[in-house]
Amino acid sequence: MSISVERIWWRPLDREEKIWVTIALIWCLGTFFMMPVWHVIAKQNTPNESYKVSVDDFEKLVTAFNEKYKVGMDENSGLPIVRPPAGSDVYFAGTGIWQWSSILELEAGKEYRLHISSIKGGGVEAWQHGLSIVSSKFNANFMIIPGYDYVLKITPTEAGEYGVICNEFCGIGHHLMAGKIIVKG
């Protein structure tokens, strides 16, 4: 058997094909235009503010922040409980020993500038982590990258306790990274 394929490149489309391609194209253009449109009308977008910061500098910011606003201590984990004033800059990090840098207490309805990054915190390295804030009604996820300060403008809308877990593989202690954010009504 010898194989031959006629030159069929320029055969016109049939009616069904034209209809389908048109529908598909319109649908694709629709989804395409909706991407910028959503960015304008949506209430919850991915944050667009970030800075380069050295791991050590961010660690200093976190330590200073924790000391300034500390209101208590979680006995089991040894983590400081920190209550920053509404509207303030909040520094929050995943550490090299697979912990979060604090337990935050925030006020519902108030905006905060949550700075997230990665620090050594007594460990050997500042890993990449995934910040995942979870409750039974809520779930939001952002990357924590060493060397970058990612600024999330957040306004907690509902009081309650939110879990903070790590969802980027960051080494052997990855699954130990549980923490919480307490939102007061």
Partner: protein, 510 residues
């Protein structure tokens, strides 16, 4: 030269023997990798199921790394290399210009794959598939990846050389057959992708040498984690489009082989393939939507796939393949009503069943979720949750893997000259595998919607110093993932056993 060819008695196709041997060894390597990756799948599946929680954390993360590499890299790429050689020789009446080069490529890939597996299994590369810096593996790991990639690149270039030879020696007339055309598009994307891979794995390899093998600690500077992510996904995302292109080519091939269907309008199908080449290589930033550093407008332009034109391509194929099957079956007389052809389609033919389930699953499970999770707002909810794992088991397992399994039922008789060992196993496998993946991919996606993370040893956080509990509903979806996963593993085991048995003890076709 002539004695290097044989003619297949059933199809009349002329087959270049050295090419045939290379197709065989690559296909066998692929199935062996599927077996190893499948064993890893079973163990990690049973660990993520809190009711079983089989492995300890060390072995879980090791096998998680091994599973992804043996499946997504080794199984898929070995099979694709076999497919490329098939498309450039058997389908074109052609020869492989340099079989020795084919062997070099094969050996590089085998050595690379072995190095990767060894390093991961002894626990020196527990970095997960993405090896995000500063996580660091031992240098042999990155070296293994590089050797494998060089081998794969050699094979792809060899494929292009074979196309040129075919053209020069006029082994075929007219245009390139469409399946080969689709594979060629996959090859173009592969070359671009592998170059990207070099750009990230070579510096990372050099960095991993610091303090190893007598090399000074400051031999190579650290790699910025954000740049790593950007460049790594320049490899990680487009490499999936090689799979898409190869899978779609297999859909067309299987549709033709099982029902005698011909593409209705090749201009349309080929244009769709070209859209993949041109547009699918963007969109890599949908992995980075919730990362710092890149501006949101940059991300929006990138993730809209340049007007979603690559999505358009998939929609065209999703129309063209069922349409050609419908026309072919209607010609056979199944003309009653709208759907008699679908009812009377050769569902008992494992290749056809695989192809159709692959097509539906890729579109409805993998494709739709990919397009939605890849948008700015939804990414906030889904990023790095188990939904993502569910999504890509929809594309690369339900889609690509099942399509490759389907074509195996033709490769075994044609290239290995053996009959399929068990018709029953062949018949059941696509339904078990397809059904199982359908269940577990969807269940993973639901669990992820509640925030269940991917790559996680213990979502009950038993050892954590601050307790956290998920909504109890997630345990239902995780159990469903476990059951669906087991069903898929049974289907996959039927495929592997049957294929191995056919190749080694199947009845010989003279």
């Amino acid at each position: 030269m002539a004695e290097q060819f044989r003619t297949c008695p059933t199809t009349g196709l002329k087959i270049h023997k050295p090419a045939e041997t290379l197709i065989r060894v690559n296909a066998v390597a692929a199935v062996v990798c599927l077996l190893v990756g499948g064993l890893a799948a079973l163990l990690i599946l049973l660990t993520r199921w809190p009711a079983v929680h089989l492995l300890n954390e060390e072995w879980f993360y090791r096998l998680l790394t091994a599973h992804a590499l043996d499946m997504l890299i080794a199984w898929i790429i070995f099979f694709e290399v076999a497919g490329l050689y098939f498309g450039a020789t058997v389908l074109l009446n052609n020869r492989l210009p340099a079989p020795k080069v084919g062997w070099v490529a094969f050996i590089l890939m085998i050595v690379g794959g072995a190095l990767i597996n060894y390093t991961v299994l002894v626990g020196e590369a527990t970095v997960a598939f993405t090896s995000y810096v500063p996580l660091k593996a031992s240098p042999t790991y990155y070296l293994g990846v590089i050797l494998f990639a060089v081998g794969a690149l050699t094979a792809v270039l060899h494929f292009f050389a074979a196309l040129i030879v075919a053209k020069k020696e006029k082994t075929y007339e007219g245009s390139l057959p469409m399946v080969t055309f689709g594979l060629m598009c996959a090859g173009v994307i592969a070359v671009l992708t592998l170059l990207h891979g070099a750009a990230i794995y070579i510096p990372t390899f050099l960095w991993s040498l610091n303090g190893q093998w007598g090399i000074p600690n400051d031999f190579f500077p650290g790699i910025d984690p954000m740049i790593y992510r950007l460049v790594w996904w320049g490899l990680g995302h487009p490499s999936q489009q090689i799979n898409v292109c190869a899978m779609v080519s297999m859909w067309y091939l299987i549709a033709t082989l099982t029902t005698g269907a011909k593409p209705l309008n090749e201009k349309l199908c080929r244009t769709a393939f070209l859209l993949y080449v041109l547009f699918i290589n963007v969109a890599s930033e949908h992995h980075l939507l919730v990362d710092p550093a890149l501006s949101i407008w940059h991300k929006i332009v990138n993730t809209s796939y340049v007007m979603h034109l690559a999505v358009l391509a998939s929609m065209i194929h999703a129309f063209a393949v069922p349409a050609m099957v419908e026309v072919a079956l209607r010609k056979k007389g199944f003309t009653k009503g709208l759907f008699e052809w679908l009812k009377k389609a050769p569902w008992g033919n494992p290749a056809f069943a695989s192809m159709f389930i692959s097509l539906m699953g890729f579109g409805f499970v993998g494709g739709i979720t990919g397009v939605t999770f890849g948008t700015e707002q939804i990414s906030i909810i889904r990023h790095n949750t188990w939904s993502i794992t569910g999504h890509f088991h929809g594309t690369v397992v339900l889609g690509t893997t099942l399509a490759f399994m389907g074509i195996t039922y033709y490769i075994v008789p044609l290239i290995f000259r053996r009959q399929i060992f068990s018709e029953t196993m062949a018949k059941l496998s696509p339904y078990f595998f397809g059904g199982g993946v359908f269940i577990f991919a969807n269940a993973m996606m639901f669990a992820g919607g509640y925030g269940v993370p991917r790559r996680h040893w213990d979502i009950t956080f038993a050892g954590a110093s601050i307790p956290f509990q998920f909504d109890p509903t997630v345990f239902f979806f995780i159990a469903l993932t476990g059951l669906g996963g087991l069903l898929a593993i049974v289907g996959g085991a039927l495929y592997v056993l049957n294929t191995v048995a056919s190749v080694f003890i199947g009845k010989k076709i003279q």
